[in-house]
Symmetry: C2
């Protein structure tokens, strides 16, 4: 089983809001629309990784993509001058310290008892390894664009994941909260597991349940998925 | 901390002898010098990965290198005709099912509580992931030649390991039971941790304790290493 991570396994938005708010407050700026800050930061990641997935532009890791946008946002929100380089680097690595959804550590352990569980994220390897330690995510293997040589939804990611694990694509299930990721995996022959994460965009902005009829499994969280897959 | 695996973390020789003996007995051939079989199989791996580390010959994974030699050995030991393809594939994957040294699972967990622990082995990723599940090795990251793009002792392996983890080489310690591996890592700026595995070549053929004065840490096993590094 290979997993999307941002949104599917970890609650990036609330984690980023908390980190930005903490850092801004420490620098004397307690008030700000940190939800918008988080959303804009995330949107830049989305745009940049989509470009990379189609082979456009120079190769960059997500740590660098995050930093590009962070510098723009800090300027825009009046934080650039009052934060030193060390504080900026620390804040950029907030993406290494995202918290899991409440069911993630336990649910993944149950899935791990029966299956190999690995990442298929667009985050870079260092980010994913540090996040796993922070959020207690018990991956069997951490795989990333710097390992795959490609960004999702490039077909290369899904094919290389199977190849690296010594499996055929039909023996691998892609797990994600995002329909596009699952559809791209399905086109390469992978099985698909949907997990519903209604609050990825904030509790005030719930994501509607999509049509999941074409997916092999559809679950409300990782415990539900473990139950459906017969894990202890 | 990045770790050599064969010999350093797992007891390849006794595991392979047990698997070859079991398979041969099942096929009606209970007697054979399976220690010599294991040593010859391992020697071919050594020769092949040394060639690959210097960039000679076509790129192959260890699973393929093992299979090349297995076919030769089965022929030589009279097993080739009496084993079917499925049995041969199963035996080739004995390298995915090696047992850890007794201190490996517990000692690695203690080291993991304080440090990132990852593999820097010449085994391929699938082999190392399957072995980790079999032998209960709690890696934070599994890295391999199909990730590094090189074989030890190529400098690329040590440098790419640090780069993938987002660290400078001086922030990484190479851990191995083999002096040559540690010396190659040290030349790239890594710290070095020696662990003494006297019985890697069999209990009847103990390895002499080398001069470890140039290494940062020298330990009798992973528990001793965890003690020396102040791990809980």
């Amino acid at each position: 089983m290979i997993f999307d991570v941002f949104g599917t396994v970890v609650n990036w938005r609330d984690s980023i809001i908390a980190e930005v708010s903490k850092s801004a407050t420490e620098h004397g700026m307690p008030d700000g629309d940190w939800g918008r800050f988080a959303d804009e930061w995330r949107a830049w990641y989305g745009k940049s990784t989509r470009e990379l997935s189609s082979g456009d532009g120079p190769w960059r890791l997500v740590d660098e993509i995050h930093r590009e946008k962070l510098d723009v946002l800090l300027e825009e929100y009046g934080l650039s001058e009052i934060m030193n380089e060390e504080a900026k680097q620390h804040l950029n690595r907030a993406w290494h310290r995202l918290d899991g959804w409440p069911d993630s550590p336990g649910g993944l352990r149950r899935l791990k008892s029966k299956y190999i569980i690995a990442t298929a994220s667009n985050g870079n390897l260092a980010l994913l390894v540090n996040m796993a330690k922070h959020a207690d995510l018990p991956w069997d293997a951490v795989m990333s664009p710097d390992v795959y040589g490609a960004y999702k939804p490039s077909p290369k990611v899904y094919n290389n994941a199977a190849k690296l694990l010594g499996l055929n694509t039909e023996q691998v299930m892609m797990v994600a909260a995002h329909v596009g990721d699952l559809e791209a995996a399905s086109r390469q022959g992978l099985a698909t597991g949907f997990v519903y994460r209604p609050f990825e965009r904030g509790s005030e902005n719930p994501v509607e349940m999509p049509d999941t009829s074409s997916f092999d499994v559809s679950a409300t969280d990782f415990d539900d998925m473990a139950n459906q897959l017969g894990c202890a």
